[in-house]
Symmetry: C2
Subunit: 452 residues, 2 copies
């Protein structure tokens, strides 16, 4: 049966490094370094360490795959789960706009853990990661906006991304890859409900997705079968969790459209849905030299998904929840000039930030919503205490492909993330950075930090 | 907030053995022995052994919790996953009609693994298992028929059942239990799509649910939080996967209605949806002394869910898939007189069985459908080659609470399951049976088979 799922499975199984444009390989290295920083920034995070304690207590005492924040070896499954949990907590990992899927935090933990376990080369790791991105993003696009209203697409589409990356490393045939997709999708899970309570589920979602996808790929190598139409069948994932799924998205431009290169780096340390408005607000503040005391009201004109995800966060109770508060983010931008990790930790509930928070409202905007999710337009209206009104608009937020980060900016961000909780020193990170920039030439992927 | 979820969490956390009627404790022992037989019957099953190979390769070399089919110790997580996979493949594990949830294959693997790890007593194991049954069944009833059309409720509600049982053993507070529910539900997964291809997902669903629920409980003990309204919130499990969820089902009769005692033993080795018709057919064949050669046509008058689950299985390709074929099951009943494990293995595609298979059709029946899922009425119409027409009807299939198995019948069934693949000898099982009948007095749960 030659359908979209088969095409996707065939692509993921047979992708060759020679078929990938050089620029996409370079961008994969960029995203890998960006991810490494996020994974290290998860050190000492309470939910991340809880997942790490549990996973390691149920796993082996040692193993070939490294847990980055603990500098120790374990099994590929445990390493993938812990590194996936760790890399999604600082809210600095990458995102693909059209699918609203965070690929790095799923793909790289699974791919790195398995590459280290089987002695894969850097080129194999990069190729497998591209397969993971291309699959996960297309599944996210396929599941659509209706799915994202209730489901955390990174958790659900993520199982496919991990299965594709790991399946590629394990050299699955196209048929085995399709079985891996079946086992991945029948484990797909992750609900947004946790946002309402500032609960810890987000880290569990990434750990779960990376682990479930890795499991699916290993099982498929061993002959374990899955549903052929797990995505578009009458009792498949879309039938159960989406009302606007479009099967044509699954193999859209495979081999010519590189969705990995459409992935955005996060610049602000907050939910991506806040970034367009944050950039637009920075524009207004800069152009009109406004300070916090000048502000009477800020209206963020947003797409519906921003309201769905950020709307429930009315009064953030934790620093992590405040990263899902449009008011806190725009408050930090206004008062601190920047909404980075340090600004959040120190100022998320400071009085001046809180004062701006209370002046922020979100409003659904027809233009912004129509462009979403392909383009994330930022649009704000600012009213000053002396009655002036300004509007700010950015067509592409900082970090998006058309407004991307330079390698120097990526290095700087990764360094800041690695040092954030002391997970690595500047000197260590400089060695890591050099290794990443030559990843394509590495005969194997030695541990970055673990001694054994 | 004193709502249904809170009531359910409070019940699961604080349930005391003294609050449970003696008859319910005895029935829990019955169900435990019945489950042990099913778990042993999973030995050498290809999908089960694949899951076991993967889980043990990613887990520790030894540990306190036993894998029954391998007679070895491992971590609680790995043991729970493997025993859960093993106990759902023979299609002989128990089922609760109203929720269409298979409790044993989720609850006992998780509870036994953790009880062995923490040195819990037999009474604690039994009490925790009751908590698991009561929670899982109510979550299944809550999710409703619309959920079951696409989702394998045993996989989805199962995470809650495992979390409740393990959470009880870990002595979670009611608040921690609620957090465990949050983490369980945000991992809930399992799609029926695999049935169409006779794929291996069913074993993965039970392994996943037992593992995810166990994970959720351990995380909650460590302070990890989950969504408070994971079941009934606007972005919770029912919002995403059900259109007829009813929150009143969650705490219906807690502490007075013991849903565990409503659970049915499976008598035929096939999908439970085939059992009512199989019993009704046996009645017709017996009363009118009909043999296979007398049959022109059989019509099974069924509820809609039977059509949803069995309908896609038009031409079964494997012995496991044939257990989801109404035609094969009624064929075995007609030709062999019984549809047990041995009959399936030897005769599922035998010509005479196949001939009856082709004469079977299913028809939606208003009376049967209206009674479902509270009562599973069996109704068949049989037309003979000489033009006679007969009707059979059973109000409660063999194994249901009002038509249940005696302890002698349960022992006989468990023995047959244990010996089916040589997982245990008759002598060993006789010792196991004696231990189960005195489980309530056991100071701790030693391994049943593993030496270390």
């Amino acid at each position: 049966m030659n359908d979209s799922t088969q095409a996707l499975a065939h692509f993921a199984a047979t992708l060759s490094v020679d078929a990938i444009p050089e620029s996409v390989i370079r961008r994969t290295e960029d995203l890998f370094l960006d991810w490494l920083g996020s994974a290290l920034a998860g050190k000492d995070s309470r939910p991340v360490e809880a997942i790490a304690r549990f996973a390691t207590s149920m796993g082996p005492a040692s193993g070939p795959s490294e847990i980055l924040i603990h500098r120790r070896g374990t099994s590929p499954l445990v390493a993938a789960q812990v590194n996936a949990a760790a890399s999604h907590v600082a809210e600095q990992d990458d995102v693909h706009n059209g699918s609203v899927f965070h690929p790095a935090t799923i793909v790289f933990p699974a791919a790195l853990a398995v590459a280290q376990a089987i002695g894969a080369s850097g080129r194999e790791l990069l190729t497998a990661s591209v397969a993971g991105y291309e699959v996960g993003i297309r599944v996210g696009e396929f599941l659509g906006r209706s799915h994202y209203r209730i489901f955390h697409t990174t958790g659900t589409a993520g199982t496919f991304a991990a299965a594709a990356a790991v399946g590629h490393l394990l050299k699955l045939t196209p048929d085995q890859m399709r079985h891996a997709f079946g086992s991945a999708g029948t484990q797909s899970a992750g609900l947004w409900e946790f946002l309402r309570d500032a609960a810890d589920s987000k880290q569990l979602h990434t750990a779960h997705a990376a682990g479930a996808g890795l499991t699916a790929a290993y099982l498929a190598r061993d002959g374990f079968t899955g549903a052929r139409h797990i995505l578009d069948g009458p009792q498949g994932l879309a039938a159960g969790t989406s009302t606007d799924a479009d099967a044509r998205r699954l193999d859209d431009g495979l081999g010519t459209r590189w969705t990995l290169a459409e992935t955005s780096f996060k610049f602000h340390a907050a939910c991506r849905h806040t970034h367009p408005a944050a950039d637009a607000l920075q524009q207004v503040l800069r152009e009109h030299r406004l300070a916090a005391g000048d502000i009477r009201a800020i209206t963020a004109h947003v797409h519906q998904a921003a309201i769905d995800v950020l709307g429930p966060v009315v009064d953030p109770q934790t620093v992590h929840q405040s990263k899902f508060s449009m008011g806190t983010v725009l408050g930090l931008i206004t008062v601190q000039g920047h909404a980075g990790l340090a600004e959040f930790d120190t100022h998320w509930r400071a009085e001046p930030v809180r004062a701006i928070h209370d002046k922020v409202s979100m409003r659904l905007d027809a233009e912004v919503d129509a462009a979403y999710p392909a383009r994330w337009i930022g649009k704000v209206g600012v009213e000053t205490t002396d009655g002036r009104r300004f509007e700010g608009k950015v067509l592409e937020p900082k970090g998006d492909p058309g407004n991307t980060l330079t390698r120097r900016e990526i290095e700087h961000k990764a360094l800041a993330l690695a040092c954030y909780r002391g997970a690595a020193s500047t000197e260590e990170m400089q060695r890591v950075i050099a290794r990443v920039w030559s990843l394509a030439d590495a005969p194997s992927i030695a541990h970055f930090f673990a001694q054994h």
